[in-house]
């Protein structure tokens, strides 16, 4: 007997190996440098960059790792360009989150637990990297649990604050329920098709005649698990409480990276399992076993409407951004429900831009909360006059989140809506457009408080150091640049839509 099937697969999982090695290194350093932990953030940053180099190395490589024993044509991990693109998004947002944590007062207060903090962030990174390229239901479930368990702990990391513990407990309860439902769905799907590999399941769905009602039941249960990760309605109830209670650096991470991993999983699950072939125009031909289109249209419209209308009433900026991130999950689903390569390109473009604008908004909220200790919208009165750089940057990020030109958010929404119109889904496009109008109100309300209200005596000037300005500018440049010169992003997205098997 030999273990060559494992050693040959190691070539495809270099980023995951680097992330695992970083976890071990961080725990070791945490034990060695028991008193002084200033070195740990730098080691974490180095670990992320090395993982990132391996991810970039994976571009234009495709293949299966850990081949299935029943059918060696397919494997548990599918390495392809689509996965590499999402992995890069995870890596970039992780680098930003390490930078956020370095400037976060909440995190800097707990220096004795920094080792655990970064080790858990690497736990999340590892979970997400595996989740993005997993093509086996068991591996999907395992990596999802790794991601969730790390994020439950991180959400409650400032454990002396009541809200943080509340966030952690709520996240755990919702997470346990929905992953439990997902596992139930997986067991039914396995019972129907006799395999946990998505490609073999797809072949079984095409050849065998199955009980469609049972299949629909299992798919909806699996969708509940994925929907919870991307916080789509009606599985979104945890989002506002967790986002409000968690440390802001973790909130920003959950809203971008964890959502990206969830979307990558949803797209891969649908495309490998339910799409038979892609025609010359780039339209995906779905198997006639489950009505994905209706389900996704309903969920998407429900998600964005609920998110936008509830955000109207929020007075806490973190909570408002939580509802806005729910609404953005709805917009992103629009790109999937057209079932074409054009829609997938739109999702990739939107995610690239969403990464910068959402992280930027959270970073500025964090910098302000460091000084004022509050995220209440009334504390932003006259901020534009006192700290004009912060005010203008937050304004740009929020305008971009709304989707107004000349910011990059406009380009993202434009490509999504073009994909919808090309797929002749005008009603959906109009409802989504009206939703954008609603979202304009609550984003612009922050601008009103910052620029049109005169400063009260409570308003202070917020001091910025060089590093914080640099982080903000690094996030501002793509937002402004891609708003007018967007062809590089579009070209990048076009070349990274290949999913293995098509």
């Amino acid at each position: 007997m030999d273990l060559s099937f494992i050693t040959e697969s190691l070539y495809f999982v270099k980023p995951e190996i680097a992330a695992s090695a970083s976890i071990i290194l961080l725990v070791l350093l945490d034990l060695i440098f028991h008193k002084n932990k200033t070195i740990i953030p730098y080691v974490a940053l180095a670990g992320i960059i090395i993982t990132g180099i391996f991810v970039v190395d994976q571009f234009n490589i495709s293949g299966f790792a850990f081949l299935s024993t029943d059918n060696p044509k397919y494997g548990m991990i599918a390495v392809d360009n689509f996965g590499a693109f999402f992995k890069l998004i995870i890596i970039i947002s992780s680098i930003f989150v390490v930078a956020f944590s370095a400037y976060s007062d909440e995190i800097n207060k707990i220096t004795d637990r920094l080792g655990e903090y970064y080790a858990l962030i690497f736990g999340m990174i590892l979970g997400m990297l595996v989740l993005i390229s997993a093509s086996d239901l068991i591996l999907i479930y395992l990596s999802m649990e790794l991601l969730s368990l790390s994020s439950y702990v991180l959400a409650g990391f400032t454990k002396l604050r009541d809200r943080s513990s509340e966030a952690s407990l709520k996240y755990l309860l919702y997470g346990a329920t929905s992953t439990g439902m997902m596992l139930f769905g997986i067991s039914i799907l396995y019972g129907l098709t006799g395999s946990t590999n998505l490609y073999i399941i797809s072949a079984a769905l095409q050849t065998q005649s199955l009980n469609l009602l049972t299949l629909a039941f299992s798919i909806i249960l699996i969708f509940a698990g994925i929907g919870y990760k991307i916080s789509s309605a009606p599985f979104h109830f945890w989002t506002p409480d967790v986002y409000e209670g968690a440390p802001i650096s973790i909130t920003a991470y959950l809203s971008v990276a964890s959502k990206a991993a969830g979307f990558a999983l949803l797209i891969r699950f649908i495309k490998t399992t339910f799409v038979t072939f892609v025609d010359d125009n780039g339209n995906w031909q779905l198997l006639q076993v489950f009505d994905w289109e209706s389900l996704l249209i309903i969920i998407s419209l429900l998600t964005m409407t609920l998110g936008n209308f509830t955000a109207l009433w929020q007075r806490n900026l973190k909570r408002m951004l939580a509802y806005s991130s729910i609404a953005h999950a709805g917009y992103l689903m629009l790109g999937l429900l057209v079932f074409s390569n054009q829609g997938l390109i739109a999702i990739l473009i939107y995610f690239t831009i969403y990464l910068f604008m959402n992280l930027g908004a959270f970073f500025i909220v964090m910098v302000i909360a460091n000084k004022t200790g509050s995220e209440d919208i009334d504390d932003y009165d006259g901020l534009g006059f006192k700290s004009s750089f912060l005010g203008v940057s937050l304004a740009i990020f929020l305008v971009s989140l709304t989707g107004l030109p000349p910011t990059a958010g406009f380009i993202g929404k434009l490509y999504l809506f073009i994909a919808l119109v090309d797929a002749k889904m005008l009603t959906v496009a109009i409802i989504a457009l009206l939703n954008t109008v609603v979202s304009l109100y609550y984003y612009i309300r922050v601008l009103k408080h910052m620029f049109l209200t005169s400063p009260t005596e409570k308003t202070e000037k917020i001091p910025l150091n060089f590093g914080q300005i640099a982080v903000i500018i690094i996030m501002l440049i793509p937002i402004l640049l891609f708003g007018v010169y967007f062809s590089p992003v579009v070209d990048l997205a076009k070349s990274y839509i290949t999913i293995l098997g098509f």
Partner: protein, 153 residues
């Protein structure tokens, strides 16, 4: 001859007989000086009879969790131990890496003091400020002991 189930029956019989003999022999040999504590129902140091709403040391849970994790991990070693020779040195190396990671977890718990029963009292910062302001520190532990003594009496 004995069937497979018959052998199991013999094992059960032996087990019962062994316990009975051991108990009987112990009764003959041991000195008997019963006290109140010794006569209590065995319950790991907790009070076995009375209201369930008692203070329960949270460190029991920590120890239980650590035990559970290592117990489950050791179970994973059994299949490895049975087959690693088929894979040669490489198979041995795989198990070694697993054991090293396990050892790291052990070292982590040791260094962080989760294995110590006696730990410094961690009081939330709010309580510290109250204590600082009052200047006459409350003797929490003393009052607790007093209450338990009163209950016993």
């Amino acid at each position: 001859m004995l069937t497979e189930f018959g052998k199991i029956f013999v094992f059960i019989l032996l087990a019962v007989v062994f316990v009975l003999i051991a108990l009987f022999a112990a009764k003959l040999i041991r000195p008997s000086r019963p006290t109140k504590e010794k006569m209590l129902i065995y319950e790991c140091g907790e009070n076995p009879v009375g209201s369930p709403w008692i203070k329960f040391n949270i460190r029991f849970y920590v120890v239980a969790l650590i035990f559970l994790i290592f117990d489950v991990e050791v179970v994973l070693l059994f299949p490895w131990a049975l087959t690693y020779q088929d894979y040669g040195f490489y198979g041995f190396l795989v198990g070694l890496v697993f054991l090293l990671v396990l050892g790291l977890g052990m070292a982590y718990e040791w260094r962080k003091g989760d294995l110590d029963w006696e730990r410094g009292i961690i009081s939330p910062p709010i309580l510290n400020e109250i204590l600082k302001n009052k200047k006459a520190p409350l003797k929490i532990n003393d009052s607790e002991n007093q209450i338990t003594e009163e209950i016993k009496a």
